[in-house]
């Protein structure tokens, strides 16, 4: 971690490896400054890691990164201890949060962090790239909450890209808050909802047996992507109701 007038730079790294004894080892588990990592009790052959925010942030000018690699046959679940709150900072410029995930053949990653809250006056660019091998499996949930209770949100640009063997399966960017292109809160995009999220599930078997598209209430849908994956997209009035609909949808996918 380095701290300067430009903000904090921090990169956390995780590598998960099949330990050859029916479990998953973590040869690399490196926190960095505000990004602390803890191994928690796993289940079966799956290792569990908790991302613990040791400082608040990201603040304006901060650049955070997380790299997680799941090697062939390993199984990893990553969660976070609390919501991440994007806040305005002393340093100039936007904050960045880059997540790079790689999942090898026969490996599985469940990436299930808590919400990202865009606090008033903050300016954050989030990019999440998941690169998967042909037989990799992924469950990835991301949730954005626009503003703390009763607060106008900050600017949040969040891009999610999922690739299988280098082929892009999903590329979606949400741009919202003050300064975003017009109409972001209007009837085509968020319609006044303050919580928005998606969950991607990639499984090789979806190639032959894709999920059927279905609507879940007013603000959510489960759809098959153009490849071996399903996507849940949801908007909700608040974080609690968003989590409920996403988890219900994930459960229905088995």
């Amino acid at each position: 971690m380095t701290a300067a007038a430009t903000g904090v730079r921090a990169t956390a790294r995780i590598v998960a490896r099949d330990d050859g004894r029916g479990g998953t080892s973590l040869p690399v588990l490196e926190g960095d400054g505000p990004l602390a990592l803890r191994r928690t009790r796993g289940s079966g052959d799956e290792a569990h890691v908790m991302l613990v925010g040791a400082m608040s942030g990201p603040l304006g000018g901060d650049h955070f990164a997380v790299r997680a690699g799941v090697e062939a046959g390993a199984r990893l679940r990553v969660g976070s201890a609390a919501a991440t709150i994007a806040l305005p900072g002393q340093a100039k410029g936007e904050a960045r949060y880059d997540v790079r995930l790689t999942v090898a053949d026969g490996a599985e990653l469940r990436w299930l962090p808590e919400q990202l809250i865009s606090a008033g006056g903050s300016d954050l660019r989030v990019t999440t790239h998941a690169d998967l091998a042909a037989t990799a499996r992924l469950v990835l949930r991301e949730e954005q909450v626009l503003g703390r209770v009763g607060e106008e949100p900050g600017r949040l640009v969040s891009r999610l890209v999922v690739r299988i063997e280098g082929r892009t399966l999903l590329d979606q960017e949400l741009d919202c808050g003050p300064g975003a292109p017009g109409g972001w809160d209007g009837p085509a995009v968020l319609g006044g909802h303050r919580a928005v999220g998606q969950a991607v599930v990639v499984r090789p078997e979806f190639e032959d047996r894709p999920v059927s598209a279905r609507v879940l209430g007013e603000g959510a849908a489960v759809v098959p992507l153009a490849g071996p994956a399903a996507l849940v997209t949801a908007v909700a009035p608040d974080a609690l109701r968003l989590r409920r609909v996403l988890d219900e949808a994930l459960k229905s996918l088995g």
Binding site: D171, G182, P187, V223, V235
Partner: protein, 224 residues
Amino acid sequence: MSRAALLVLADGRFPAGGHAHSGGAEAAVKAGRVTGAASLEDFCRGRLHTAGRVSAALAAAAVLGVDPVRLDAAADARTPSPALRATARKLGRQLMRAARATWPSSELDALAREFPKGAHQPVVLGLAARAAGLGALDAAYCAAYESVSGPASATVRLLSLDPFDATGVLARLAPELDLVADQAVEAARECVDAGVDALPAASAPLLEISAEAHAAWAVRLFAS
């Protein structure tokens, strides 16, 4: 090139089937999110900066000669809703028929062979513009304008909205259409060197979600 070809391609009467689609306006009206000129404007502005921006960049990139097969895959990745992917391909197929009859081109023929069920409409639009001798900016304008003109004219029918009000909405969006078309060409130029990841991926969650709901309705006025 003849700039007048742009008027032919962008004309709502160009026989490419667009009139049967509301661009999500029918679902938004039913949900009570579009109720008059003001909310229609907000709807169109949101659609312009998301789906419109992506379509404009795809069309511009096709004019600049980026491989249409790659562009079509990029469109798939940017369209999670299978109902919207199916609509885009259906509109692409209809535009292909009209464009091949109007501006015969070996590139259009090749794309039609590659995608017998239809390529994504903006990709076909870009190649049609190219066949008509138009430029990337022309195609970007055409795609950006279509992203708002469809919902505006559909809402006239859906809400019995005064056509003058709907046209006023489009006129007020003109400066933003300029901006979106310019940005689309910039992204398309970047895409020539950097690949399709340089294209915008702006998403509109409500358009995606309500397209799935709309596709399941038993009775509807518009196909999408």
